[in-house]
């Protein structure tokens, strides 16, 4: 075990009594409880943690928070491995195993770094420019290779062993972030009695106060934080959520929070606690106190390990007593880095120089730095950095007045740490997600919240307020106002604790720090986006190539498109673009931030909705019988329907084709039974029930006799088929409508729409009874014998119970509704019993049918049998562009009715033309050739592209009944092509010729149906 040589002897919020051992890239290190992986590595002197995305340059830890772009980690192994985690957010625990990503064979010696030598070819838009031809190479060759070379982490290949859950809550005030502003807002809101949620992504509350040494009310800020948290805990309506990232801000103050409940513990050590929890919060008011992210400076080779954000270094020395170096150079354009330098110095780091891009370093912080004897170089730039796997020194030079060039000769300063600060970007991500409008603040050189759209308020540095007393006051006021808006308290801000204000000197927005050669010339790279390896030269090149919109620039250069969403890079990239376009920054605009704020596991989004709970399954009352008899199932909507019933014996189990052929033979020659319970059933009652049906079906329903069934087609106002089914008149004011299985809910909603909005004068009521009834459809020449045995009191003679009629009878001892309707073309009875008797009915049918060889059949056989008869299936033969006339079903469209839904549209020019795509049958010249459904059809066998398409195959099967293949197709001008030959090009040079026929292949006279 190596010693943590870069750890201060005292201080920090780590628990020195609880040492923790962990491994990184296979080596064992020591840290302490309270360390992040990043702080523990730094305390062990480890800076090189990864290789960059494109050039495989050595990279170190940049930040101390969720904005980290470099230190991406693959955590753990096997089924618990997780990619792309930020070392700066990982809490270490005993036995933690972490490794670098994107390096092979190791992060120390990485073969991919050859890309850095070749970097001149990897310019902006390189992939777009290079991997263009041939097109087919993209999927097969280029992309896989690029993905491997430019890989982020690896997803686990095994199922996740952990479980996740969700909470749905309402709150009066949701506060995001627990720094000085957020904590103060929480106190203000909580004291009103409001229901408050305080969420913070870190393990401890306190935000920025954890990493500085500010005093509040004359005590260390941490004491004030502890007291505030203690006070909050005492309120019964306050919920404190540490380790919880607010990842998404959606409409009407709906926010999504991801809480990491066990990630700070050894994996698998808390098997009864959900690993992560998703909070779905509907908040009356939201207070955003999300803080700010420090901006890197864009200077030559600013990406070497050991070059860090100044505020991050400050956090490491104060919060973790970790020393990121022994001798530091500070590069800054603002005052905050001076505060960092003073803290670093107090922690024992030698300040070799403060390089200030500004012409003058004034103010109390600079005065203190000078008092301590720091070498402060104003109007000076870092023009080069030295070292490869760790920075070893920098060159500095004076700048000219505008800061566009350097003067004189470089001076080298040795160091092992560069702390940089380019100013601060308010973390406006959630504000932006809430669709609020951002405003560019020229004085602060950053985007701040402008106009709000939702019920939210920003407070503290996420609003551009960087001064501690002001943050506390703003938090207090905002919390009180939010509570008042949610109906609590009087809106008066509580008293604010005392803190010291440091009036900052203005920063100097110098977006590119000059060096001895212009940007893009020479070997030096000025990185803008560390994660995606985008440099200032790439941004300038894109601008020269005409990418002047920030949205285009982003996609072309990939700036800000990494897993960090450009938290450290966006404003720098935008400013460089603006400068090259000579436009003000607000005019160039900013990109929209989208959820999630930081990468979120799929597990927490899925919660418990995995495996069997991934989707609801609807099963019929006969389902257990189907399962017991080996049915293969098909999903139809959410229903599980038997697809076919394969028979097995010693030789093996039938395949689908064999089973379907056997089932078809049984129905055509003997008797079969289908579970049709899933068909949509709508009970329609009221004096105007018939009137409603007459208006929504294309055919007439007013005069349907009681006890009679009628097939109907429903169209939308545009005349296109929407659904079909059989409706039966049960009484004078009582009908039962059936719909297709998949459309039941849609049809009900649509009928309600007309009843409630267009025809509110109709006295009619609808009730969905789909699940109230179980339905068995007995079909085949021997169907009558089977039903006769089950319902001995019912007269089944064709005269007493003809086709398309309805009877009530006792079937197998249960009161039943029997419909003599058919979807197979055979004599058929659909028996409906109350759902609880469904299984009983089915078992009795099987018993009664046994001597007739009754065969259960599934949806596939049903499809074949109906196709032989040319019966359509809505959604298969139709696609919302097909009229009943197109289907050859003009007979179902009334000529007499004055109006029905769709009627007016049949005389529209487009629907009235005679050469629309029409439903025809297709018989392949080779009877054994079964065309794939969806096959396009052409008029000529071999033409040069583009060959005009006539239409496509909608249904295609091998028909055992006919001993050959059959197909249905929608073909342009199909009715006029009867007897013609058309072609189905199947690709690979194979073209199948087929004859156009009528779509009814079997018993066109309907003799069997009426038998």
């Amino acid at each position: 075990m190596t010693k943590d040589a870069f750890r201060g002897a005292t201080g920090g919020r780590i628990d020195r009594s609880r040492p923790v051992t962990f491994t990184f890239n296979g080596r064992t290190y020591r840290g302490y409880q309270g360390d992040t992986l990043a702080s523990a590595l730094l305390a062990n002197g480890v800076h090189l943690v990864g290789r960059s995305f494109k050039y495989h340059r050595p990279r170190g830890i940049l930040s101390a928070g969720s904005e980290e772009s470099n230190a991406l980690i693959q955590l753990e192994r096997g089924n618990r491995t997780e990619p792309n985690l930020r070392a700066t957010q990982i809490e270490i625990h005993e036995g933690l195993a972490a490794s670098s990503q994107n390096a092979w064979p190791s992060v120390e010696t990485d073969v991919g770094s050859i890309n850095n030598v070749l970097s001149k070819v990897f310019v902006a838009g390189f992939y777009y420019k290079t991997f263009m031809h041939p097109q087919s190479f993209w999927m097969k060759v280029y992309e896989p290779v690029i993905r491997r070379a430019a890989g982020l982490g690896k997803a686990p290949a095994e199922p996740d062993p952990d479980f996740y859950d969700k909470m749905h809550v309402h709150s009066d005030v949701l506060i995001v972030g627990s720094g000085p502003a957020g904590l103060m807002a929480a106190l203000a809101a909580a004291r009103t009695g409001a229901r408050v949620i305080l969420a913070d992504e870190q393990n401890e509350f306190g935000g920025s106060l954890l990493g500085t040494r500010e005093m509040i009310d004359g005590r260390p800020a941490a004491d004030w934080v502890a007291a505030a948290v203690e006070e909050l805990r005492a309120f019964p309506e306050v919920r404190l959520l540490p380790r919880t990232t607010v990842t998404g801000y959606y409409d009407h103050n709906y926010l999504i929070l991801a809480e990491r409940r066990t990630d700070h513990l050894p994996r698998g050590s808390a098997p009864k606690i959900s690993r992560q929890r998703l909070w779905k919060v509907r908040a009356k008011q939201v207070v955003l106190a999300t803080g700010s992210h420090e901006r890197p400076l864009v200077f030559a080779d600013n990406d070497r390990p050991g070059i860090m954000l100044a505020g991050a270094v400050r956090t490491y020395v104060n919060r973790f007593a970790a020393l990121p170096g022994r001798r530091a150079v500070v590069l800054t354009n603002n005052d905050s880095a001076y505060a960092a330098a003073l803290d670093m110095n107090d922690a024992g780091i030698e300040i070799a120089a403060i390089v200030d891009l500004r012409g003058h370093a004034g103010g109390p912080l600079a005065a203190e730095a000078k008092r301590r004897g720091f070498r402060v170089l104003t109007n000076t730039a870092i023009t080069a950095t030295h070292g490869s796997k760790r920075v070893t020194g920098v060159d500095v030079m004076m700048m000219n007045g505008p800061g566009e060039d350097v003067i004189g000769a470089p001076t080298r300063i040795d160091c092992d740490l560069v702390a940089m600060s380019g100013g601060w970007n308010p973390a406006v991500h959630l504000f932006s997600q809430s669709t609020g409008k951002l405003r560019y603040d020229d004085e602060l050189s950053c985007f701040v919240p402008g106009v709000s759209v939702q019920a939210e308020r920003s407070a503290g540095s996420c609003k551009g307020t960087f001064d501690l007393p002001a943050c506390l006051a703003e938090g207090a006021a905002t919390g009180a106002q939010a509570a008042l808006a949610a109906g609590h308290g009087d809106g008066v801000a509580p008293a604010v604790p005392a803190a010291t204000s440091v009036a900052p000197q203005p920063l100097r927005p110098l977006w590119i720090v000059p060096t001895t050669t212009p940007v893009g010339h020479g070997k030096a790279k000025h990185f803008v986006d560390f994660q995606n390896d985008v440099s200032a030269a790439d941004v300038l090149l894109a601008s020269r190539e005409g990418y002047q919109s920030v949205e285009h620039l982003k996609r072309y250069t990939t700036t800000g498109m990494g897993t960090d969403q450009g938290k450290t890079s966006n404003v720098n990239a935008l400013a460089i673009l603006a400068k090259s376009l000579a436009s003000p920054i607000p005019q160039v605009g900013t990109t929209t931030f989208r959820p999630p704020y930081t990468p979120t596991t799929y597990g927490v989004l899925a919660g418990r909705d995995v495996g069997e709970l991934a989707d609801a399954a609807r099963v019929t009352p006969m389902h257990s019988w189907h399962v017991a008899h080996g049915a293969a199932f098909e999903d139809v909507g959410q229903w599980k329907r038997p697809w076919y019933f394969p028979k097995g014996d010693a030789q093996g189990t039938e395949d689908m084709h064999a089973a379907v052929r056997r089932e078809c033979r049984a129905v055509r020659n003997g008797v079969g039974v289908l579970d049709a319970s899933t068909l949509g059933k709508i009970d329609i009652q009221g004096p105007d029930a018939a009137q409603l049906l007459n208006r929504v079906y294309t055919n007439a329903f007013l005069k349907l006799d009681i006890g009679k069934c009628r097939y109907g087609v429903m169209c939308k106002e545009d005349g296109m088929v929407m659904d079909d089914g059989v409706t039966t008149r049960l009484g004078p004011n009582h009908f039962l409508m059936t719909t297709t299985t998949g459309n039941a809910a849609k049809v009900l909603e649509w009928l309600e729409d007309y009843i409630q909005t267009e025809w509110p004068d109709l006295r009619v009521f609808l009730t969905s009874v789909t699940e109230h009834w179980a339905t068995a459809s007995i079909a085949g020449p021997k169907a009558r014998e089977v039903v006769a045995e089950l319902a001995p009191d019912l007269d089944l003679s064709p005269e007493a119970f003809p086709y398309m009629s309805y009877r009530e009878a006792v079937v197998a001892g249960v009161p039943a509704r029997i419909f003599r309707i058919s979807f197979t073309g055979e004599l058929s009875y659909e028996i409906n019993v109350p759902a609880q008797h469904g299984l009983h009915l089915w078992e009795n049918i099987m018993r009664a049918g046994e001597k007739h060889g009754i065969t259960p059949y599934g949806t596939e056989t049903m499809h074949v049998l109906r196709a032989e008869k040319g019966y359509i299936i809505v959604g298969q033969e139709t696609d919302a562009t097909v009229t009943p006339q197109d289907l050859g079903m003009g007979w179902v469209v009334s000529k007499q009715k004055a109006d029905f839904i769709g009627k007016r549209s049949y005389t529209r020019k487009d629907t009235a033309r005679s050469d629309r795509k029409q439903l025809v049958g297709l018989l392949t010249d080779d009877p054994n050739e079964v065309l794939p459904e969806g096959t396009q059809l052409t008029a000529i066998a071999d033409g040069h592209a583009p060959v005009p398409m006539l239409g496509h195959v909608t249904s295609s099967y091998f028909s055992d009944t006919l001993g050959r293949s059959i197909a249905l197709a929608l073909v342009s001008d199909g009715f006029n092509r009867m007897g013609q030959t058309i072609f189905a090009p199947l690709g690979g040079g194979k073209t199948v010729s087929c004859a156009v026929t009528k779509p009814v292949f079997y018993d066109p006279e309907g003799v069997r149906l009426h038998g």
Binding site: Y250, D251, H252, N253, Y254, R282, A283, K284, Q285, T435, V453, Q454, A455, A485, E717, D718, A745, L748, E749, E752, D753, Q756, T757, E758, P760, D761, A898, D899, K903, R904, S905, T907, R908, K909
Partner: protein
């Protein structure tokens, strides 16, 4: 996720509702009396405004009632919820976000949209 104040059931998540497109498009009483252009106007043309949009929603997984909503198409803020047959004009209830204490008038059953 919108929060929609069903006039019958109160505020509920958007996932309980179905969307019915633009409101106040009345089906012509006698479609056969319309010209092709008038009929096409009814079938296909919508106003698609940037701003206040009056639209129909149905509480599919609740009371199954249709009603009208006025929603801002840019901000998604809902400014009015009113029953079928409610007037297009009338007083708008200006509501800040997430405080949609919209007092929908007692819906009149059987009134035209």
């Amino acid at each position: 996720m919108l929060l929609i104040n069903c006039p019958w059931c109160g505020p509920r998540d958007e996932t309980e509702f179905g969307y019915g497109g633009e409101a106040h498009r009345t089906r012509p009483a006698d479609p056969s009396g319309t010209s092709d252009i008038e009929w096409a106007e009814f079938l296909f043309m919508r106003t698609n405004p940037k701003g206040a949009h009056r639209e129909r929603w149905v509480h599919s997984h609740g009371c199954r009632r249709w009603f009208n909503v006025e929603r801002h198409t840019v901000t998604n803020q809902i400014t009015r919820v009113y029953p079928m047959g409610g007037q297009v004009g009338g007083t708008e209830i200006a509501t800040p976000a997430a405080e949609q204490a919209i007092e929908a008038k007692e819906p009149k059953q059987g009134s035209r949209s």
